[in-house]
Amino acid sequence: MTDSAPTHTPTMTKLPLAERLRPWLPVLLVPVLIVVGYLIIPSSSSWLTLTVSGLAMGMMIFVIASGMTLVFGLMDVINFGHGAFISFGAFVGTTVLLALGQMTGAPSLLLNLLAIAGAVLAAMIVTGGMGWAFERVIVRPVYGSHLKQILVTMGGLIVAEQLIYVIWGGHEIVIARPETLKGAITFAGAALEKYRLVAVAVGLIVFLGLRLVLRRTKLGLIVRAGVENPEMVQALGYNITRVFVGVFIAGSALAGLGGVMWALYQEVITAHMGNEIMILVFIVVIIGGLGSVEGCFIGALTVGLVQNYAAFMEPKLALISNIALMVAILMWRPMGMVPVVKAK
């Protein structure tokens, strides 16, 4: 052993262009899909309507799925009960919107948006609180056991759905969109529903907000590190359990927000609506790369666009389009589009 170490000069080898572009390929998927849609859809106005519709649907699925992918990535928890937060968010939000009927019925964008903000806030508070209780009572005892997680979170979902029947009754509830968000605007000969444009904007804000928190803050750093290696995060001095609970609450609140958005999108809500959306949510979380918010965003937009284009071109194809999409993407990138490195 010598005291003076040999000079260790690090060098960086420049990778070929194709190699450097490889990680970015999934980012190109959405624009490529939109261009393909333009080429195969005969009318450009139909293409524009379908594209906005697909993006809006994708954004709503992203809002719902982003929390779930973080919960899976960080806590390794498969939460089948996530659908309950969607349904509860929709019911709470709808109740608030119905109570604020004068505001939603007024032809004022400000009043309409205030009513929606109130509904969203109430839904997020309730579903965030539910998430906290869900994590403490149902999920915490089964950390580390996927089979038990599936069983107990399914049980939690059933209980939550039954609670909705008890509180709001078994019938579906019709909810009209606020006055100024009804109808469509015409752009380049295409009818674009106003609400869908709002959904795109909200989804984009949520994505940028999440990205900002995850990439630019210490909390985001802890969450990203925790997704990879929670044990080491603890050994560095951070209480990962508190981060787990925070992410679970945030994920549940986002599902609540998604529930309100979905309710206004469909204009009718049922106790099992969350459960029905969960199929799309699972597809998005899987093809995005478990634990990746960026992957989830790309996956959600892809699913929304494919579903809308396929339904227009061949309605029967829409039934299998998302499953086919999942198969194709997993054959291309078996760990999802933006895979997260796991140290476990």
């Binding site: 040999p6 260790h8 690090p10 990203r224 590190a225 001095g237």
Partner: protein
Amino acid sequence: MSDPILQLKGVKTDIAQYHILHGVDFDVPRGAVTMLLGRNGAGKTTTLRTIMGLWKPHQGEILLDGAHINGLSPAQIARRGIGFVPEDMGIFADLTVEENIRLAALSGQPIPERLDWIFEAFPALRTFWKSAAGTLSGGQKQMLSVARAVVEDRELYLIDEPSKGLAPAIVATLAKALKDLKNRGASILMVEQNFSLAKALGDHVAVMDDGKIIWTGSMKELASDTGLQERLMGLKMETA
């Protein structure tokens, strides 16, 4: 021996149905490097992980600066002033080198003076500052793992086999950095299989076998007695 920074008294740890530590007793002196040596499977890594709170002892006491730390979470133990370099390095591959270092700075941002020292010891980390840690070589990852532990002053550093699987040139770089850390008065408990490195850095030694401490003493004493080395660890080496 100076007053101990860390004391283990009758520590027993089970992992699932396996009894790994069967009552570990030893002291880690303050301001010195204590090498924890022993054959593979002797329980060295388990001892470090138990001190760190990553595995819970079911019996015994662990005292840091005289205060009990068994039963505390790893985060609480880390905040009491223990820096940990695990055997698998534990770097966050998706995070950049900068983010890995920034995460380890509990007080907020890394201290510039300390960063300068890290860059001087490990120039590769400056070169790859903005690169994903997963793209580093094995040796660079180990440098990052050590740098992360030393980015702030700690009461005690637990370092698990820093030379494992590394080329001699990288081991020499690491050894120099660790010697520098030692010269700054740090207290270090280090597991090491490379006896040459252990000899170069260690002041005190605790030898483990079958989940127990079977010998403690000075490195000078162990290094000068090949018979003792052979008896304790099965080593056959020339006297230093």
